[in-house]
């Protein structure tokens, strides 16, 4: 919120996206539904607000990073020529299944495999070649929820496909307090 206000004060536009089930929106959250909502928001910015795709940057934290990565990956099939600006991912994760496996060790693998909301960011980032101008990853070194190794893996994957990618690991920061300093 504060970041968005600061961006506006700097002379930029700011857009805050809410999801189904949140902020008075109808429905319940799901991967397909949230991707569809985010797609609609991006289309609205391009078609109704007449914004050029290369002037649109994305800032995403935690689950938000999965939302934006998977939405952009989804758009590669429909709009192959469009290219967005910078993509800033704060404390992202590789995949939901991998994260659950790490965090909830008592749950057997066959149950995790049943997940439909997989949020596989490692696969999604592979599709972002020429989709974004630059990818910046930021992670707190003391993140107890999502270890910073997730960002390292995503960064390596981004470099592999030839994306311009940066990685910043910040000492002494946890999962939520990292947002305040950016």
């Amino acid at each position: 919120m504060q970041q968005a206000q600061e961006e506006f004060a700097r002379g930029n536009n700011a857009c805050l996206v809410s999801y189904r089930g949140y902020s008075g929106n109808d429905g319940t959250p799901s991967q397909d539904g949230i991707i569809r909502d985010t797609n609609a928001v991006i289309n609205y910015l391009i078609n109704n607000q007449n914004l050029k795709t290369d002037t649109i940057d994305f800032v995403a934290h935690s689950l938000g990073s999965a939302v934006v990565l998977n939405t952009l990956a989804h758009r590669t099939g429909n709009n192959p020529s469009e290219c967005f600006g910078e993509l800033k991912l704060i404390a992202p994760f590789k995949s939901m299944q991998g994260l659950i496996k790490n965090k909830l060790k008592f749950i057997p693998q066959f149950v995790i495999n049943y997940l439909t909301n997989s949020w596989n960011n490692l696969e999604a980032i592979k599709k972002l070649k020429n989709k974004v101008y630059k990818i910046n990853l930021v992670h707190g070194k003391n993140d107890s929820l999502i270890p910073y190794e997730h960002s390292v893996a995503l960064h390596q994957e981004a470099l592999k496909i030839g994306c311009q990618a940066g990685l910043e690991i910040i000492d002494g920061k946890n999962h939520n307090d990292i947002v305040g300093i950016l």
Binding site: M1, A14, V17, S23, A40, L63
Partner: protein, 157 residues
Amino acid sequence: MSIAIIPRVLERVPYTRVPQEGEQGVYATPTNRSDRTNTVKNSPKNEVLRRNPLNKNFKDHSAQFIPPEQLTTKSNIDPEKIKFTDIFKPKLLFEKFLNKFLYPARKHDLLKLLKPAKPFEEHKIQTNNGHVIRTWLALNPSPQARTKVFFMVTLQI
């Protein structure tokens, strides 16, 4: 003696009361049904329905014939072929359980956060399947302005 079950609506009479002494006119009573003209049974709408029954015009596509031998009953379940997942649905249960953690119980209510922030205007955006999503935009008039789109939902496990 036969008992006819008459729908309640047919029992309704337009006006029923016992004529008082000195009053004139005919009052419909349950025993004087031939006088009734304003009942549901005789209404023009009912006549139209009688000529064109709904069940002829609209086929029930949800109805599907299942032969008795295919119906799963207690008697035809083979105890050797039954799977664990036929009884226990781990996928549904697990996702229900997980959603409570993944999507943090709608604590992040943008509405409350945005109330004091005047530059933000609410835009209602419709998805291709008709779902409406609320988004807040603060636009600068400068044509050189970049647009930052924020996705700030916190994951809690």
